[in-house]
Subunit: 332 residues, 2 copies
């Protein structure tokens, strides 16, 4: 039998994991609304994190679930170059939930919240058939970095790697947590992605400084987004309607090559590149900028790779070949 005796009891336990204060919090949890001190443009994003859609409890620990639910939301702030100021959680607990599950969720989420210096400022609690989380995050950027404002000839760059999380997903689906023994790096990439907040904030500052110093109102046309659905699906969104891209896939992570060899792929490098192009949930950042700004973007963050250029005409070319694809929760 569940040891969750009352809503107040659960809320008190959740509260014990999260400080109810922060530099931007004028009023924390406990009233009708939380009150944040805000001045200027505020970035807001909401993401769902749903059992058996986005995660399985068979191979996600409660701590992993709490971590990743917050990570994927913070990644949206990173993609705007924003500093996180607070977040809310709508938490729906399934019939078999107990305090150990609640504690684990909170511990994983609180660990990342502490790393990112982002306070939990509110939320709601309910029961449901499965474990569901809905998070909303708030933040502010020195210069809010958008997408879809690129021009032909602008540089396309990638911060981080792609494909590892997809390999982890396939392995965890096949083998459960046992996959962690042989494949810790891809599995951790899927279970515990790291939102690239510092990288986003550095680029936001770079764009703001460039705009000021050069008197350039476009701030070097620095556009940014996070890779949640994979390059194949997100690249067209980055460059915007009517624009295309001509990119070269970088050599994938050695673990992806090893993964392809373990599957006896005849051409492991080609297969790994295709996998790295299609695979989602890496929460790497991709962006575009004017050629003049590109060298500063490269220098600003380690793990930045030049992928290619923005083109006219709406076609995505990878290693010279036109290509399309992606991931859709509702498609057949």
């Amino acid at each position: 039998m569940s040891d969750l005796v009352s809503e107040d009891h659960i809320l008190a336990r959740i509260a014990s994991h999260f400080p109810n204060e922060g530099p931007d919090v004028l009023l924390g949890r406990g009233d009708d609304c939380a009150v944040l001190g805000v001045s200027g443009p505020l970035c807001v994003s909401t993401d769902l994190f749903m059992e058996d859609v986005h995660f399985r409890r068979s191979y996600f620990t409660p701590e992993d679930i709490g971590w990743k639910a917050l990570a994927v939301n913070l990644s949206d702030l990173a993609a705007d170059g924003a500093r996180p100021m607070g977040f809310t959680v709508g938490l729906s607990l399934p019939p078999d939930a107990d305090m150990a599950l609640v504690d684990g969720l909170c511990a994983g989420m609180a660990e990342l919240a502490a790393q990112a210096s982002v306070p939990l400022v509110g939320g709601d609690l309910s029961r449901a058939d499965k474990l569901h989380l809905c998070l909303t995050v708030f933040g502010q950027a020195e210069k809010t970095l958008l997408r879809g404002e690129a021009q032909p000839g602008d540089v396309i760059f990638l911060i981080g790697r792609t494909g590892l999380a997809r390999a982890g997903l396939l392995l965890l689906e096949e083998r459960g947590r046992a996959a962690l023994n042989e494949w810790p790096i891809p599995c951790e990439a899927h279970l515990r992605p790291a939102p690239r907040l510092k990288e986003g904030m550095r680029l936001s500052r770079l764009a703001a400084d460039w705009g000021r110093e050069k008197g350039d109102p476009t701030c070097g046309r620095l556009g940014l987004m996070d890779l949640s659905d994979g390059l194949a699906r997100d690249l067209p969104r980055l460059v915007g309607p009517g624009m295309g891209a001509d990119i070269d896939m970088p050599m994938p992570h050695t673990e992806i090559l090893r993964f392809m060899r373990s599957r006896n792929e005849a051409e492991p490098v080609a297969a790994a590149k295709r996998h790295a192009f299609l695979g989602g949930e890496d929460y790497a950042l991709i962006g575009t900028c004017s050629p003049e700004l590109a060298v500063h973007v490269m220098v600003a963050n380690a793990e930045t790779t030049m992928l290619g250029k923005v083109t006219e005409g709406g076609v995505i070319r990878v290693d010279g070949v036109p290509i399309s694809g992606g991931f859709d929760h509702f498609a057949g």
Copy 2:
């Protein structure tokens, strides 16, 4: 078979119901984050609205569901005296969902959103076993009205009625939508509560003006909250720890008296008052203020009733009798 062919297809349909702009919206839906123009304290609230916990599809139309999901969230802004600036929706659709359901949800929600002048600025979409909504609302108040700052002798007031929604819930649970024929007022109170945004904003302005004109930094100690869980549970939250209340229950709505008579209650007036004290989901507002401000509070809004006074010592007295109770999603 469902006609929901892809996530992009559903998102496009949702978008057609909601304008993607607003006076406070710097960047609407479609990027990693929405961007709101904010200056000063920002009120934020998140609420879940879950099938078979907060509503049943057997007697809520899709339009009712969309309306009420937004209404209960906006009520939290009303309780702070805030003007709504935007909201996000995490929408989880069940396997039997079709475009008619999506259209209905959106139509009901968009109707209230237009009335309240609040734009949809973002969200997320997923599938789930049941229909789940998680909304987050943002707003700003001239003076943010909190709770728990009352002093003994302060006046307790109610804006609106209590108990109707609870009667509607009982009738709808027993009879389904057929209950609407004989009991339209209680049923509508449950299905389509009206968030008291104007009332909250008027009180916020009143408090701000009082603070300025009287040089009173407490702004008349005007505290406010919305009644989501019923007076029995919410009154202690309003007055705050260590404080009590001594109230007289006003004569309940005639429909509650009729409801009690229809159940052959031996003492229908006493039963109706008890019902009105315990029943939740009316989204009336309750508040406290200094005796000096009370007359202005009474004048500011129609449907304002003086309930009683704040007392020392943590006891809630109703018509002279100490009492407790309430509603808890998790309690046996």
